[in-house]
Amino acid sequence: MFLTRVLKPTVTASAHCDLPCGVYDPEQARIEAESCYKIIEKYNASNDEQFKTRAIVIKEERAELAKHHIDVLWSDYFKPEHVQKNPEITELCWKAAKQCSKVKGSLDLAEAKTLLDMIDKIADVWTKAGGPQATRVAKAAAARA
C-alpha cells in the first residue's frame, strides 16, 4: 500500500540486543591452547603418517577456537573501565589472537607455549578485574576440594 510505503521507517534500531550469558573465563581459551600444545608433542613423537595428518587438522581447529575465545573476552568481556585500569589488555588480546594464528600454522612447541603464557597474562587481568566473582557461577565446596 502506498501510504504504508511512505510511512514505513527507513532506519532500524534495536531495542533488544543479544542475550549474553555473562560467563567469561580465559580458561576456555587456555584449554584449547593446551590442546594445541599437547597435539604438537604427540605429533613430534609419532611415526604414523595418518595420525600426524589428523593431529594437524585438529590442532588447526583448536587454535581457531582459542582465537575465538580470546576475541569474545576482548570484545564482550573487557569494558572501557577495565581498559582504563589495565591499558595493556588491548595489546595482550591482540597479540594473543595473532599468536593463535601462528600456532595454527606451526608445529613448533615453543609457539604453543608462548600462546599459553599470553593467555595467562590475560587471565591475570581478568582476575584483577574481578572476573572470577563477576562472571562465573560458584562451584559447590565439595567440588572445589
Binding site: 510511512l7 534500531a13 534495536s14 531495542a15 533488544h16 540486543c17 543479544d18 569494558k79 573501565e81
Partner: protein, 92 residues
C-alpha cells in the same frame, strides 16, 4: 524494551539539543559497534556519559554489559509511536 517498545514499532525520534534526562528513551549508538543503533532508557547521566538500561534487565544488553555510553553517542530522543495503529501514543 518491552512492554514500552516492541519489535516492529514505528517510532518518531527527535534530535536532542540538551543532555538526555533520566527516564527518557533515547536512540544511541552502541559503544561497541557504532553502526548499531539501539533504543534504551536513561538510568543516570554523569560526567559526559549516561547509563542506559533496557526495561527488562534479565533480557537486555545494556550499560551493565557495555558500560556508560558517551553523550556524543546519544543521537535522539524517542517521542512518539505512530505504528502499529493500536499502539499509537507518546513515549514519555
Amino acid at each position: 524494551m518491552e512492554p514500552a517498545l516492541r519489535a516492529g514499532d514505528w517510532i518518531v525520534v527527535s534530535s536532542i539539543s540538551r543532555p538526555p534526562r533520566v527516564g527518557e528513551i533515547v536512540l544511541a549508538r552502541d559503544p561497541r559497534d557504532p553502526q548499531n543503533l539501539m533504543l534504551k532508557r536513561v538510568a543516570a547521566v554523569a560526567d559526559g556519559a549516561c547509563t542506559l538500561l533496557g526495561d527488562r534487565p534479565e533480557e537486555s544488553t545494556d550499560s551493565r554489559t557495555f558500560g556508560p555510553v558517551p553523550l556524543a553517542n546519544v543521537v535522539a530522543r524517542a517521542l512518539f509511536r505512530y505504528g502499529p495503529i493500536g499502539r499509537i501514543g507518546w513515549l514519555w
